[in-house]
Amino acid sequence: MEIQELVVQLQEIVGHQYVLSSEMDLALYGYDASLGRGRPDMVVLPDSTEEVSRVVTLAYQEKIPVIGRGSGTNLSGGTIPTKGGMVVHFSRMNRILEIDIPNRTVTVEPGVITLDLQNQLLAQGFIYAPDPASQKVSTLGGNVGENSGGPHCLKYGVTTNHVLGAEVVLYDGSVVWTGGGCQDQPGYDLTGLLVGSEGTLGIVTKMILRILRAPEAVKTMLAIYDTIDDASHTVSAIIGEGIIPAALEMMDSVVMKAVEESVHAGYPLDAAAVLIIELDGMADGLDRQTEKIFSICKRHHVRDIQLAKDDAERDRLWAGRKGAFGAVTRLKPSYMVCDGTVPREELPAVLSKVLETGRRYGVLIGNVFHAGDGNLHPLILFDERDEDELKRVKRVASEILKICADAGGTISGEHGIGIEKLKEMSFIFSESDMEAMRQVKRAFDPEDLFNPGKVIPEQV
């Protein structure tokens, strides 16, 4: 079928104005927050599961790739249509269908903005725990597709630990529920498999998420260090002493300076690193744990440590952290973020190797990351227009992932493989490991139409 004819058929399914195919639209939906570029053949904006099902059925008949998309904040190229096809954009399917406090679940459509759900829940004293830094714009469908993390995953786990069930449109357009509103459903944990599959196994059209009672009390601290080494040893020591903070984040001087200029979070400009340490839970035990953290920090030569006095101060500390990726573009127009994760005791050694690699290639690296999880985010800063620099950046990124893999870690903690890290999959997986993943892909998507070319490298 010709593209034009397909557009007409899609218009019949979702409505005339909800199929986009102008040159500008196709350019706009051809990229995400990574460095890659692609171009879809059309963009479809369905309004219901039934419409998605009909769209997928048509795509299956015509053998056209289908790429699900939320807000496009993806950092690994997972939403880039590298093989054409149709982008299915979920901006219309953005309803919170049910908040069920007695059963501690919510049912949502994939286009709901993460923070919108969180704000509604908080008003009722509940939380949806995963809090990716992009939560202001990211969608829950995108979070599920990527198995997103966030600062508070240290204590609460990542997205997959909070997804109970999903309504999914399969390759032939049929619709099934996996999991559901209760635990311990018999059978394979297909929901667990779908979460983090980057849209390559099916299109999720509804999700049942687990919610928790908001913690009774929160303590947020800012610890300031003169060396990165002291800061990263503090991280291991806190966990070693039996405290699992809600969040344990690190930021180095490069990032702090950029952040301070844009957010004015109150970070010192002459320090080498800061840690944001947050405890939450029942109020009773928190004071003694806070004292313990103060003394651990002092043992590791902290220059200064402050406890946020109120919510406003706490919000200010976090605003700097959450705005960090945006702020670094003050230093250089582009950045590439590596997402390697290592066992946390390897953190000091790996961090210094990362910085050394940057120096060797003459590129600037800033660090802002989930230290408690061992989840690094070296931001390699550069100018995309400088082709020579771009080449070096890609080499540095790959070397950093190799350093993480060699330290017993992995190449992506929360941003996904997409297209950006396909080559590096071989750092951690053998050909047979990847073949096992291809079996799963074939079981769900025998014609390779859902987001083709992502996550698993082609067979060699």
């Binding site: 069920d100 529920w177 209760c182 599959s197 002493e241 699992i244 029942m282 992506s412 903690g413």
Partner: protein, 481 residues
């Protein structure tokens, strides 16, 4: 196709001949739902598992993996069976990393043996090790000074169960309320696939989105997709303080009201278990407190920082008396340990005492627990059966043990009828039912895995891709996969 003699010879070329058993006593002890294997083989390394699976693939032999056997009653009878693969000789602890809070173990290690070793790991220690487990039956130390660590699980049959069996069955006990399920605790796995290749998935970090999350697929797959050989689990520091409330309620309404009120506070109990007095009588330690024969017991497990546990104990005591709790006991450290240890393990004795035992598990949305318990009581009382019932409150899971002494046809019919009614109810509210134990002769009359759901079509396709000739536990899993 090789003859039986040739097959045995081929197996002896893979494992030490002493590790292949075919004497009738051992075979019948390893019968799966009454179906006998012709050999039981105990590989000692991943390479041996891999070679055995290759052989099975070549000769089309059906394999069933076996840890301690504590959960072998779950599932359909195998559609065919050649070899039982005993995994208790895969018993090495590969790595304990106290700083990273992870442990990597082989699947045949007994759960209690790992917990015991973890409990004495000091701060800052990291042992790369491959030692065999010392054979000891000492209780796990909970000495607070050294702050060892633990796998945050308390699965049933914790004394005998192997870690591989627990993960294969996604088996969880009371503290799932606070810490989650095996699916939340496993970080990485190695399994042998149907082509004999060893597949490594996940890793040693809590955050990991590299490739598909295949761990989730293998956890709870009951040996139907591969042979689980090694796993990395996340650990937590041992809690500073432990304690347990045992509360007696004359009525279900009182017990449910109490539970609802506890969940309505900011308190974070580790476990809230609701059981009838019959279940209490067979799960509590010998010579423990008695609460009579009629009514309900709620056991609330508390773990955490000293101040938090103290406050929880105080407030829960108040809520209990307001909800009409009759008796009210608070168990400190040692008694706490004694109680929960028995609670997880005495269930293993039930099938010896009641050879006709039928155990079923219901799941449903958590707010339905009171209604489900009411229905359970009324249906089973009407059917005049003796039963123990246990609910993991806050998780939406209820276990029922029918204590059938007679084993006669008529009693089984009544149990089946109650089971079907409960299945219907659970399905209507979005849940399901699994029959966890029933003797093989009547098994086919029960809805073993409850009711198939629409996603079964995908499960079948996954099985077809990952085990095309059906050598792993054929026919045993959901829908006869």
């Amino acid at each position: 196709m090789a003859t039986d003699g040739e097959k045995i010879k081929a197996i002896k070329g893979i494992v030490d001949p002493k590790n292949i058993k075919s004497d009738p006593q051992i075979l019948s002890a390893h019968a799966v739902d009454g179906v006998m294997p012709w050999a039981v083989v105990f590989p000692e390394s991943l390479e041996q598992v891999s070679d055995l699976v290759r052989l099975a693939q070549k000769e089309n032999l059906a394999l069933v993996p076996w840890g301690s056997g504590s959960k072998m009653s779950i599932g359909h009878p195998p559609s065919r069976l050649d070899l039982v693969m005993g995994l208790t000789d895969l018993n090495k602890i590969m790595d304990i990393n106290r700083n990273n809070l992870t442990v990597t173990v082989q699947s045949g290690v007994r759960f209690k043996d790992i917990q015991k070793i973890l409990a004495v790991q000091e701060n800052g220690s990291h042992n790369h090790r491959e030692n065999h487990i010392p054979d000891t039956n000492q209780p796990v130390s909970t000495d607070k000074q050294n702050r060892g660590c633990f796998i945050p699980m308390a699965p049933p049959h914790s004394h005998s169960a192997t870690i591989g069996g627990i993960i294969s069955a996604n088996s969880a006990g009371p503290i799932r309320l606070l810490y989650g399920l095996p699916r939340d605790i496993v970080l990485g796995l190695r399994y042998v696939a149907s082509n004999g290749e060893t597949i490594g998935i996940g890793g040693k970090t809590v955050k990991n989105v590299s490739g598909y999350d295949m761990c989730k697929l293998l956890i709870g797959s009951y040996g139907s997709l591969g042979i689980l050989c090694e796993m990395t689990l996340r650990l937590l520091p041992l809690p500073e303080r432990l304690g347990t409330f045992l509360l007696f309620f004359p009525t279900l309404a009182g017990a449910s009201d109490f539970i609802e009120r506890v969940f309505d506070t900011n308190l974070l109990p580790a476990a809230v278990e609701l059981l009838n007095c019959c279940a209490y009588s067979f799960l509590a330690p010998e010579g423990f407190y008695e609460f009579g024969s009629d009514g309900y017991v709620v056991a609330v497990g508390l773990e955490g920082f000293e101040e938090d546990v103290r406050r929880m104990a105080h407030e829960i005591g108040i809520i209990a008396s307001e909800s009409g709790a009759g008796e009210n006991l608070y168990l400190k450290e040692d008694q706490h340990g004694l109680f929960w240890d028995a609670y997880s393990n005495k269930v293993s004795e039930l099938s010896h005492r009641y050879p006709n035992l039928v155990s079923i598990k219901l799941n449903y949305p958590i707010s339905n627990s009171h209604k489900v318990m009411e229905l359970v009581d009324s249906l089973i009382k009407e059917a005049q059966l003796e039963y123990g019932v246990v609910t993991h409150a806050g998780s939406g899971v209820t276990l029922i043990h029918f204590l059938d002494k007679s084993g006669d046809h008529e009693t089984i019919n009544r149990i089946i009828s109650v089971t079907r009614k409960l299945l219907d109810h659970c399905r209507r509210i979005g849940g399901n039912l699994v029959v966890e134990r029933v003797r093989p002769e009547v098994k086919q009359r029960f809805p073993i895995w409850g009711e198939l759901r629409e996603d079964h079509i995908v499960m079948r396709r996954i099985k077809q891709e990952m085990d095309p000739s059906g050598i792993f536990s054929p026919g045993r899993f959901v829908g006869g996969i």
